[in-house]
């Protein structure tokens, strides 16, 4: 069985994955125009200013869409079926993709408030994938 498609951090994304491993969701913010940005890039995609800075996100947001997956991309995801993939709009603005966990995964609704948590570090690069749980989960 092939392994999961683990992220391979690069120069743009390493600060994000380092943050996840430390239990912290990090976003870029442009030092010129102030736009928050995800996914990470070497420049600001709004004003094209160079070298956006990094900041800690509130790790809170709302579900903007969700799908329960019944047919996986590869056999390595079969054990997880069915699982919920969601798009979450963070309070800072950017949208991220995560799997939903716990109660919010049972009957997700667009608009549900969620909080980002992290899986234990795994894979060849020690990646702690972000996930989302209900905002009021313990």
């Amino acid at each position: 069985m092939t392994d999961k498609p683990w992220p391979v951090p690069n120069a743009d994304t390493a600060p994000f994955w380092d943050g996840c491993a430390a239990g912290e969701l990090r976003l870029q913010r442009c030092t010129a125009c102030g736009a928050a940005q995800f996914p990470p890039r070497a420049l600001c995609a709004q004003c094209h200013g160079a070298a956006p800075g990094w900041e800690k996100s509130s790790a809170r947001g709302r579900i903007v869409s969700h799908t329960r997956v019944h047919r996986p991309p590869s056999p390595t995801f079969k054990a997880d079926l069915p699982y919920v993939v969601a798009l979450v709009a963070l309070e800072e603005g950017p949208r991220i993709m995560v799997n939903l966990r716990d109660s919010v995964a049972e009957a997700p609704r667009i608009g549900d408030a969620v909080r980002i948590g992290f899986d234990p570090p795994a894979g060849p690069h020690g990646i702690a994938l972000p996930h989302a749980v209900a905002a009021d989960a313990p």
Binding site: P7, P39, H70, L87, L129
Partner: protein, 384 residues
Amino acid sequence: MTRRAIITGAADTAVGEVPGSSCMGLHAEAASAALIDAGLKPSDIDGVLCAYSFTEPHLMLASVFCEYFGIQPAYSAAIQAGGATGCIMAMQAAALVEAGICRHALVVAGDNRLSGLSRDKAVATLADVGHPQFERPFGVTIPALYGLVAQAYMHEYGATPEHMAAMAVNSRTHAARNPKAQMRKPITVADVLASRFIAEPLRLLDCCLISDGGAALVVSAADAARDTAKRGIAMLGTGQKNTHEHLIAAPSLTAFGCRDSAAQAFGRAGVRPSDIDVAEIYDSFTITLLVELESIGFFDKGEAGPAALAGALDLGGRLPCNTHGGLMSYAHSGAAGGLFHVVEAVRQLRGEATGRQVGDAELAFVHGDGGILSAHCSLVLGRQ
């Protein structure tokens, strides 16, 4: 004013499961058929546009094809834009002949995705479209990404599973009239809603097929089109718009580049959506077609589903759409999938769509969408 490019040849191979086919073999068969259709010889071709392949991938597919086919055109290039590729190749070919760089440009694509690749491998390869660090690790597939669009679109505009199912039923109704189509057994809305979930809210019958097949066009300069065999079809207007690649970075989950792409094509052609007699619109999933019909301006928001349920997309309806059966019932073999829509539009405008002809079709609209409604290309074609 520039004289419009003319489609002088259009053809496709057998589709579905084509035993004994190869990727390049399908390319060559489609190219030969399009040349015969145009009444041209291989040596008349001075430009070649190819796409991409899953079964015989190569960094330089246009060179691979030209070597295989035995031609040495003055211009060749390969284009990769997922489902938008077919329309983009046609748009690029038009630009080449209108600029005087080529006289007869061949557009060709094909892949034996069904027989040359396991279904699991095809699904896995397609899922590579997701962002490698910020989408794929969460187990997304192409149906899951479109499922996310469907869920958001249903929430915002009130589309229902029945409305989406109507798109699949329409495709099958058309395919039943087309002896070449891969799936011809009639289906109902209830059949779609009873098929198993792939990625909610999308079910198996909300999804396109995986097929073998190839397709080709010859696009000629207006003066060169006089040398060809059949009535030419004018490329009256073309347009493109790309807003994102990955869904996490899409400006919106419910408004996409198809609107601007189509507006460009209509504007250049000097026509409006209501002037179109027949539409061939990329339908990788039911939600794809529904979003495009409402974004392009053929229907108001929330209207396409109810209209389709009432037969608006069938022959005799307000907008006969995907008259060959589309990607959900005719065939989908990679970049050739989007070219099937162009080939069908040419057949409709020539009056060659036996058994499924739209009466007196003079203006056709074709649309291709690549990625997750990421890349769009629109064509307005007309009888000369």
